[in-house]
Symmetry: C2
Subunit: 577 residues, 2 copies
């Protein structure tokens, strides 16, 4: 039962579900549903899919996440960055608007869902940690710029393409002559209105004395107002005949049962993008879920989250959707609106299903420019170059990783950008640990403490070198240690003992073990003793499995002071007494 | 002058060169020259090149290394593993025996030399450290097997091909019917004789009372005896007409001036193999040089070694050679024979130049089978599966890296094998550091020391959790720390203070900083204090550049005992006093 509840968190919160939770969840569901209708249409547009795909992608996935997910407030569905990645991935295997394109989206959701499930079952959630925070921040910022740029064509009413910033801009400039000025008017007005709602409406309502809940509701309703107003305008003035592109026919139906294409060509082409989408979606979703859970001292289980998101994506694959994940804005709205349990998600799904059946004819005249405006306003909040300054101030290594990620994402596309970001982070880490900080230490007079001889007034002994190694020893820095000891010993011929102080050494891998053995052998040839001090328990356990300790041309001391008393003492008498 | 001497070590040892060094170097040069003649021919055969290429590759490179290298004893020239990598790389761009094949070998040496020079000038020698010892050991063992297998065709007198073990074996079996039994007789006798020389001659000579220098000389002379005996046999019995493949015409000439092909196709195809050859050659060479230097308390400078090896390879590219590096066996012979300075190398080069002009007609009847036998006997000493057992005993992670490297090198070829080995080592390292050892610690009664509460009898305080983090904090484990703190705090509602003890934290990167900020914010929301203790100097310097310290919902304590006195004390009174 305990295991079952771990894999089906619904059994956990479902047991204690009560009337108060029900009413809170219902209120939250209404608010989220209203917000999700235009958002779902917009992200379908961004992914290059028909509008209904956006709504379908918000129904089954929400329900499945409610059953398998561990976050109480996370709202799952299409999100901006994942939609962009989807467009980029399936644009490479099919032409937008064709049946093959929609099938490729299902395949991508299927592969992504399967991969997430696999990671979850194997409990490999930690893999997501290979994406460093600065790389994610740089990637999200660059993606926001790419997304906003990709929507400019809808605002201008022209057709353009491209998956990198230079491609998009070149294509836009080439088609600038086709600009439809009525579309521009609609798009710019909608965007202007939404920016105003976002920036100025709340303070205004507060000054007018509106209650906080109503204020919030009105502020979130901005996109709905823009949608309604521009739809009515297009319908009333017959603007569709003037060349304004509209959403058009959307089938009135519940999500259909769909089958993802599984030909080996398609699977082969989409496998890498699916892995990338899974990991980025997972990272985004877990960050949101963790932030919200922490506010109520709740916990989420990252491995179970993989299963929840995996199930959601599989759901999307079989119900006419496309890849989904936990979205930031919808989850925050859900949380702020008072959602107490994942049941709120189930009610939202019911609301969206009703909308899919009953309300789709109402968006016939909705102009694409309005949807593009809602996307642009939403994603520009993702763009935050302050990460460049923050990392510059803190560490040049992190700065390089962010800058490279941003430039490569903009210049070569989302996939190259994020892959390069990960590679650069890993290489920088290896580089940093390859030349660890090693301090030559001496005794602080009158104490048992040892400090850097270059920073403190300490006692030393000319026949003893004590080196404190401030890093785990592994293959990347093993040779460095060999060189370092060698240079210390060849410098001073009077040296009779080398003591390596291992207080900050958390691991010694086999390469480092061989280096220590080599150091030991060389020092023995020179008639110099090699001693270790303050070796940690787990490291010592490991070293005892090798021959190093028994072959050591010296001793292992529990504390550096003991080592000093034994090998440094004779001289200490002359220096200190 | 000092800088010049750093880049031209010859200026250093040249100043003090004297008559005693001269005579020692001359003796060593004679011995090494005799050993190198068959070896050079054999490695040319292994690389698929005409025999003279092996001799040319030993002349200019030796001289250039003597000028630029820092090792006193290293002997540079063709070596087994690099010759195999050469055959594998240029076999992909040209047909063996064509002019294009020889030109590709020059290009490979040129690219490799240029890359080594570049690394040296940029002082990037540390990059070689990304190859862990177990991966190198596994790779060398697998290469030894591949090399020995690749020579079986010469022993059987058949033509076969392939760059992986399955390919080679399949091809050999397919051609087994063409076996030339006279060739087999020559090859097997030569191999048997060489194994006997290696294993039994030395003890025998010792029992016979031969002096140690003569013993050594005779033992090293084994290949020369095999070469002379089989050459005479082929000539005397006219075995070449019986289908025994022989070396044939070798031009009588000094190394020619050659130009590597630099078409973009060729450079593009050989760039990655050249980088691989450079790094593997460098690692092998530096290990040998370091081992020999340590015996005389001399030092080598790895970055200057890159320049020395780079110059050697560029020399090979312009004098009809192929990629070279510092070889183990030739360097040890050179050292044992008493070489004192790199001048010994220059005399060896003169000896080989004389051989190239005067002795090449003598090897006309030398059978390829003899050369193959010398290769097989030499490389089988590289094969050492004990690394599997050693790493298995010491650490499963290292074992996995070795096993994967061996299997992939044998199964998919040298390039895939070594690349996979590096990737696996890095991933395993990241995995290990992604779940660092974190101990909850308490005060050892009557001391100021803190130890793991699960290993020792210690005092704790129910409102304080003290966690000692035994790893640097960076992006791979940043989220782990967040989860860990979260789980400790959600477990016990009585907790009022979290103390993170940073004595083993050697770095906090930007991702970890953000995690600490998130932990701080969450704990503040819960009304729990966050404190740091024993933060190292460099880490603290870095943290002070961020807002963490000023926003900290708690204090930074120099020692854990201070932290305990401050936040744990009120309870300590009740427990301890």
């Amino acid at each position: 039962m305990h295991t079952l509840r771990r894999y089906l968190p619904i059994l956990d919160w479902g047991r204690t579900y009560n009337r108060s939770a029900l009413s809170n969840d219902l209120v939250a569901a209404v608010i989220v549903t209203i917000m999700l209708i235009p958002q779902s249409l917009a992200y379908a547009l961004l992914a290059g899919l028909p509008p209904e795909a956006g709504i379908y992608a918000s129904i089954a996935p929400i329900v499945l996440y409610a059953i398998f997910g561990t976050s109480r407030a996370l709202a799952v569905g299409p999100v901006a960055v994942v939609s962009l990645l989807t467009a980029s991935a399936i644009g490479q295997v099919a032409e937008q608007g064709t049946a093959g394109y929609a099938v490729a989206a299902l395949t991508l959701a299927f592969l992504s869902g399967g991969f997430l499930m696999l990671l979850g079952v194997l409990r490999l959630g930690f893999l997501a940690n290979f994406l460093s925070h600065p790389v994610i921040a740089g990637f999200i910022t660059a993606s926001g710029i790419l997304i906003a740029t990709s929507q400019l064509k809808h605002i201008l009413g022209v057709s353009a393409h491209g998956h990198t910033l230079p491609e998009m801009l070149t294509s836009l400039f080439a088609h600038l002559g086709d600009t439809n000025w009525i579309t521009v008017l609609i798009g710019v007005s909608a965007a202007g209105f939404l920016f105003w709602v976002r920036g100025n409406l709340k303070p205004l309502l507060k000054r007018l004395g509106t209650g906080p809940v109503l204020t919030d509701f009105l502020a979130k309703g901005g996109p709905v107002v823009a949608v309604v107003a521009t739809t009515v305008a297009v319908w009333g003035f017959g603007l569709a005949e003037q060349g304004v592109k509209i959403v058009g026919d959307v089938p009135q139906s519940l999500p259909p049962l769909t089958l993802p294409g599984l030909s080996s060509d398609l699977v082969g082409a989409l496998m890498v993008p699916a892995i990338l989408i899974s990991i980025i979606g997972f990272v985004e979703s877990v960050s949101v879920a963790q932030t919200l859970a922490a506010k109520k001292r709740q916990r989420i289980d990252p491995d179970q989250e993989l299963i929840g998101l995996g199930a959601a994506n599989l759901g999307a694959a079989f119900s006419g959707g496309f890849p989904v994940t936990g979205g930031f804005s919808r989850s925050v709205v859900n949380y702020d609106a008072g959602a107490e349990t994942p049941a709120a998600g189930i009610y939202t799904a019911i609301g969206l299903a009703i909308a899919a059946v009953a309300l789709t004819p109402l968006v016939y005249f909705l102009p694409n420019a309005t949807l593009a405006a809602t996307i642009i306003v939403a994603v520009l909040t993702l763009v935050d170059f302050s990460i460049l300054k923050k990392t510059w101030d803190y560490s040049r290594a992190d700065f390089s990783a962010v800058a490279a990620t941003i430039l490569l994402t903009l210049g070569l596309g989302v996939e190259v950008g994020v892959a390069a970001g990960v590679a650069i982070s890993v290489l920088l880490h290896l580089y940093k640990t390859s030349r660890p900080h090693v301090a030559e230490v001496g005794l602080v007079p009158g104490t048992q403490h040892f400090r850097n001889i270059h920073r403190h007034e300490v006692e030393t002994c000319p026949s003893v070198v004590t080196l404190r190694v401030d890093e785990s020893l592994y293959f990347v820095n093993a040779r460095f240690l060999e060189d370092l000891v060698q240079s210390h010993v060849t410098e001073g011929c009077a040296i009779k003992h080398v003591v390596l102080m291992f207080s900050a050494v958390n691991e010694v891998d086999y390469s480092a073990l061989e280096s220590l053995e080599a150091i030991n052998a060389r020092l023995r040839d020179m008639g110099v003793g090699l001693h270790l001090s303050e070796v940690k328990g787990p490291v010592m356990d490991r070293l005892k499995r090798s021959h190093l300790i028994q072959d050591l041309n010296g001793e292992v001391f529990l504390s550096q002071f003991e080592a000093w008393q034994k090998v440094g003492h004779p001289k200490l008498h002359h220096v200190a007494e």
